[in-house]
Each structure stands twice: as structure tokens, then as C-alpha cells.
Assembly symmetry: D2
Homo-oligomer: 99 residues x 4
């Protein structure tokens, strides 16, 4: 792994990221209630798709912050760490595309 | 929507589905802790990818139950409801592929 | 693998599936032209995303045909092959979700 | 759109990208042959999943080249174009995740 910066890229958006994650936690608890109430499979599947989209929106926000802060400042500083950070970002994007 | 059956397709797997959803809820709370501790973007992104995969595994289990029970029994009963259930299942799969 | 039926589920839609695949082949050749002309990465990436969506639309059409014909007639005939066909369909959907 | 650079990020990998795209074109023609021979739906679906993965591998290679060249050199030059390029890259990644 490339050297992590002292502060993560999302530091200025920390509260916004937490709000999104708490909403996702609420959606997952909503899924548990739907299963508990024995709601119809198709409705639950659509809600699972909605939670997946919400998670991907978090991923895009974190990537945006990561590229705009961690990767950007590594490139501005120059040197090997810039290359490491760029490779690491591509690898993380590849894992997201596979998920 | 096709007429939902009295019991959902996952009725025999209700406890297993709930266990998976509780584990996913725990993973989402784990993400909140990682953000709270200002962990590195890339580690959080990988954990987001892991939660997405866990959600897709729930979707596959629900689909398996839905096809094997709701769709199967509608086809066994015959008639229009079988066609509605098959169309509805394809549409739900299409939404999952898009998510 | 479950016993394949004599005729595939898409037999009535064979011409439509082929038209979609020829259009996708044209899109892939369009990508080659874009690379040959050294067009901008972002435009090529967007075109790659468009081809991926076109392929998924083919997958959804094939799945729709498969569920509505192969799986449906196996369930109507009853017996072990119905279960095999349902399991096989779920496994194929799981592989599509992972792709 | 941010100002495209004179040479695209994949310029040094142009031949490799073209080889991948020609292989994908061959896979799409292979799909047409499978449909022509009325092969089983499930085998065709698995081949569609394989082509989708091959396309995503091209996307990852193009992204890698784009981040490592176009975005990197925009950041090294500094100014508004760096911010535009970073925003544009995130937006392209978001579209790929949705595809």
C-alpha cells in the first residue's frame, strides 16, 4: 500500500459520509423488518438494489475525495509515492468494478 | 406486480437471511467506525466493495428462493399468473444487474 | 449442467438476438476506430460503458427467454430436471451479477 | 469536458488496447456463432459474462493510463484544468460503476 496521508481525503466530508452510512444502516435495518414481516421477495430484492446503489454512491464520493486530495497532493509532491498512489487508486477502482 | 404468494419464497430460509442482513448491518457500522477513526480511503473503499458483495449474495439467495418457490408454484398452477411471475422475475433481475 | 432442451429458449427471438449482437460487434469496431484515431480516454471509457450496457441487455433478453421457455417447461414437466434447471438459472444469474 | 491533451493517456499502450478490442470483437462474433448454432442459453449467458469482464478490463487499463498520464500531467501543471480533469475522471468512473 502507498503511504497513507496524515489526514484521509474525505476529512472535509466526514460528516456527510457518516450521514450517508447511517442512512444505509437504516436501510439495512429496513430490510430486516421487511423479512421479519415476510414481505414479498421482489420488493425486498428492489430494496437490496437500492442499498447497493447507495453504497456505490458512497464509494464514488470517497474516490472523488481520494483522487482530489490524496492522489492530487502525492502528484504535486512528485516522486515514487505519486506513482504508487495512482496504481493503488486504479487497483481499488478495479475491485469496485468487480464488486 | 404479480399476485404475491401467501408465504414468501424465502420463508424456510428466513433465519439465514436475517443472519446475513445482521452481519451486513455490522459491516456498515464497521464502515462508520473506520470513517470516525479517519482510516485511509482505500481501506474504506475495499470494505465498501465487501459490503456490496455481501448484499449481492443476499440478492442471489432471495432470487434462488423466489424462483424455486414463488415462480415454480405459479408455473405448476399454470395460467396468466405464471407468465406475470416470470416477467416480474426477469424485471427484478434486470434492476439488480443495473444496480 | 441440467439437460439442455432440444431448442434453446431464445429460438423465437433468434433474429432479434443476432441483430443486437451485430450491433454490439459494430460498437466494438467503433471502439477500435476511436483508439486508432487517438480519441480522448474519457470518450472511449463512456463508449465502453455503453457496450457493457448493450451486452447486459442481451443477457436480460436471453434470461427472459430461458426462464419463460426452458425453465418453465422443465417445471411443467416436473421432476428432478425442474430443480436442476432452477439451480442452474440462479447460478448463471449469480455469475452475471459478478461480471 | 476538460481540455483533452494532445495525446491520449493510452498512447504508449495503443497496440495492447487494440489487441484486447480485437479479441473482444472475436468473442462477440463467437456469440453470434453460438446463437446461430442454437447453443444452450446458459452457455451463451456465461460467454456474455466473459465478454463483459473483458470490456471492464479494457476500461480499467484505459483508466489506469488516463490517471497516470492525462490527470497526472494536469495536476503537475496545476490550475483549474487539474480540478476539471479530476472531476471528469470521477464522473467517468461513476458511469462505469453504473454500467
Amino acid at each position: 500500500m502507498a503511504t497513507p496521508p496524515k489526514l484521509p481525503g474525505y476529512i472535509d466530508e466526514k460528516a456527510a459520509v457518516q450521514r450517508r452510512l447511517r442512512r444505509i444502516e437504516g436501510q439495512v435495518r429496513g430490510l430486516q423488518r421487511m423479512v421479519d414481516q415476510e414481505q414479498y421477495c421482489i420488493q425486498i430484492l428492489d430494496q437490496v438494489a437500492a442499498v447497493t446503489r447507495a453504497l456505490q454512491a458512497v464509494a464514488v464520493e470517497l474516490l472523488d475525495d481520494h483522487l482530489g486530495h490524496c492522489v492530487r497532493s502525492a502528484v504535486e509532491s512528485g516522486g515514487d509515492d505519486a506513482t504508487d498512489k495512482l496504481d493503488e487508486a486504479t487497483a481499488a477502482i478495479a475491485r469496485l468494478l468487480r464488486s
